[in-house]
């Protein structure tokens, strides 16, 4: 079985977001780029499956749509343990564009399982995984918190409102994963970092596709009123304020 893990490149989660060019873009000066937290966990789970000889997983490939500037993110994924990588050489303009490119890669290379994170921490779109599956006409299972392969059959657990469902599906399929899929992201060891340098990164030119959406402006969240402090000796006053001022209890 071959697994494809989709990797997005995002600002470190503690980044203070600043805008540039009249609030039409993000100021990228000083930003540390990391693998999207969900994608790091997807990759970890894919590698765990490959480590388990009974799973039948033979290879883990990562795919990224981005320019040469995201090369370090790809090398990091290789250092963590991916066998090889594919980079589609284009600015990732919107979910539609990215999903169409990855679907094209998947058509050419034929994977059994495609794993995507539930969202990227920058665009918060939750769309790429589902779009890839529809472009390919294959099933998708979303909100997946566990992915196993039992006797050659993929078995997933997905979160539903107020519970969980165990779902079976035939490969090929797209798993859109969230919390629980792996406990801790795997970290690159020195050996992995050395090996990553020689692992293959295939470069592909993008299909000509028009994005369907475009961000024309950013704004900061509406500022909140300053905190009103209540004396620790009189917490009852908090209840009074919540009841009579905020009117939320």
């Amino acid at each position: 079985m071959k697994i494809l893990v989709c990797i997005s490149n995002v600002p470190d989660t503690t980044t203070k977001i600043k805008f540039a060019e009249g609030n039409t873009s993000i100021d990228t000066t000083g930003i540390q780029w990391v693998i999207n937290p969900w994608d790091e966990l997807s990759l970890t789970r894919a590698l765990e499956l490959k480590d388990d000889a009974t799973s039948g997983v033979k290879s883990v490939t990562v795919v990224h749509v981005g320019t040469a500037s995201s090369e370090p993110t790809i090398r990091k994924a290789l250092a963590i343990g991916a066998d090889d990588a594919i980079r589609v050489n284009a600015e990732s303009s919107d979910a539609w564009f990215v999903a169409a490119q990855i679907a094209e890669v998947a058509k050419k290379e034929q994977f059994d399982i495609i794993i995507c994170g539930i969202e990227s921490s920058d665009f918060n779109g939750s769309a790429v995984g589902g779009m890839i599956s529809e472009f390919l006409g294959i099933p998708s299972v979303s909100a997946v918190s566990s992915l196993k392969i039992e006797n050659g059959q993929p078995v997933m657990t997905r979160e539903i409102d107020g519970g969980k469902e165990v779902v079976n599906v035939q490969a090929p399929f797209v798993a859109i994963v969230q919390k629980g899929i792996a406990k801790e992201p795997r970290i690159a060891a020195m050996r992995g970092i050395m090996m990553a340098r020689t692992k293959p990164v295939k470069l592909m030119e993008p299909l000509a596709i028009e994005p369907l959406t475009q961000i024309i402006e950013f704004e900061k969240p509406t500022p909140r009123a300053a905190c009103k402090y209540i004396d620790a000796d009189n917490p009852a006053q908090l209840i009074d304020l919540l009841q009579n001022e905020a009117k939320v209890i």
Binding site: D94, N124, G130, S142, L212, T213, I215, V248, I249
Partner: protein, 322 residues
């Protein structure tokens, strides 16, 4: 032209979020000078369906089909896209919950429709069609132009007020044929929590962090939550340690919630935690460190020892509930 809204049901019942969706759809339809069609899949009584009309649906399409009993993303997307074509829908509205996130992107490809995900306000403009959406995990909001003829919006929970007026919507029971070859998933087992207020539905949430020190200190916090009719939540280290169940973990890598009131007890307020709660209408911080970042996000704060403060809050709530 019309606005189509997909309203999920839970064992034949709708939730507040379903009514928010229809109210929102009705707001969008007014901007576009058109009508709202609500689509429901599964067995729902007419009385319950009619409630969608009271929030502004002009027409309700009710679909019952044995192949649609459990959620199969591909089959659901195919059914909803067929109906939206039939209804000539130019805007499709779905919740930004697990189900919405599962279906919206598939619909997008079927209809070549751009997606605005996690919108929390009515469109800013209809020409060009511009929506207001959360980005950078709540650290920024974007004005997103959707250029395609058909647009899909997923609405953030608890971001839009209900509009309820008596209205007689027509109900159409529709037989759809589902291409069996599209149903490729099967559900083997279902585990449901029962009797608990779900974190994603709750108007009030009481949440504990590492400052609670030990799982043994939770009972007063749970009592406070019960008295307030609140759900309980926690920060990531708390669920990682196994002090509380994983379903309670809120934040960037856990649940993203937007209750009316979020009470953070012994939570420092790391960016990744705030990413999951910053859309709450009111945030209360209880923390022994006056410099904890959570106070910058909070409207009400108490600096002090949670172990002493929580029991006093419990008594105060009991007092007003007498």
């Amino acid at each position: 032209m019309s606005v189509l809204v997909y309203t999920e049901n839970w064992e034949g019942k709708f939730k507040k979020l379903s009514f928010e969706l229809v109210s929102y759809a009705s707001g969008v339809a007014k901007m576009l000078n058109t009508t709202v069609t609500a689509v429901s899949i599964g067995k729902v009584e007419d009385n319950e369906l009619k409630r969608l009309g009271n929030c502004g649906a002009n027409k309700i399409i009710n679909i019952i089909n044995d192949q649609l009993i459990t959620l199969d993303n591909q089959a659901y997307a195919s059914v909803i896209s067929d109906i939206s074509k039939k209804e000539n829908a130019t805007v499709i509205i779905i919740s930004n919950n697990n189900t919405g996130k599962a279906i919206a992107p598939r619909l997008s490809v079927r209809l070549k429709a751009g997606v605005g995900s996690g919108v929390s306000r009515l469109p800013l403009n209809i020409n060009p069609f511009t929506v207001y959406k959360r980005t950078y995990s709540g650290n920024a909001f974007a004005h997103l132009v959707i250029k395609s003829d058909v647009k899909i919006l997923t609405l953030a929970q608890n971001s839009f007020d209900l509009i309820e007026t008596a209205n007689n919507a027509s109900i159409e029971n529709l037989n759809v044929s589902v291409d069996g070859s599209l149903v490729k998933t099967s559900v083997k087992d279902v585990q449901k929590q029962s009797g608990k207020i779900l974190l994603t539905d709750a108007d009030i949430v009481v949440s504990g962090g590492r400052g609670m020190k030990s799982p043994d200190n939770w009972p007063p916090l749970v009592e406070l939550a019960t008295l307030l009719g609140a759900a309980t939540a926690c920060s990531r280290p708390v669920s990682d340690e196994g002090w509380r169940p994983h379903e309670e973990h809120t934040g960037q890598t856990g649940k993203i919630i937007a209750p009316n009131l979020y009470i953070a007890v012994g939570i420092s307020g790391a960016t990744q935690h705030l990413a999951g709660i910053s859309s709450s209408k009111f945030i209360v911080a209880i923390n022994s460190d006056k410099d904890a970042p959570i106070f910058q996000a909070a409207q009400y704060g108490i600096v002090g020892d949670a172990m002493k403060i929580i029991p006093k809050l419990v008594s105060a709530v009991k007092e007003i509930r007498k």
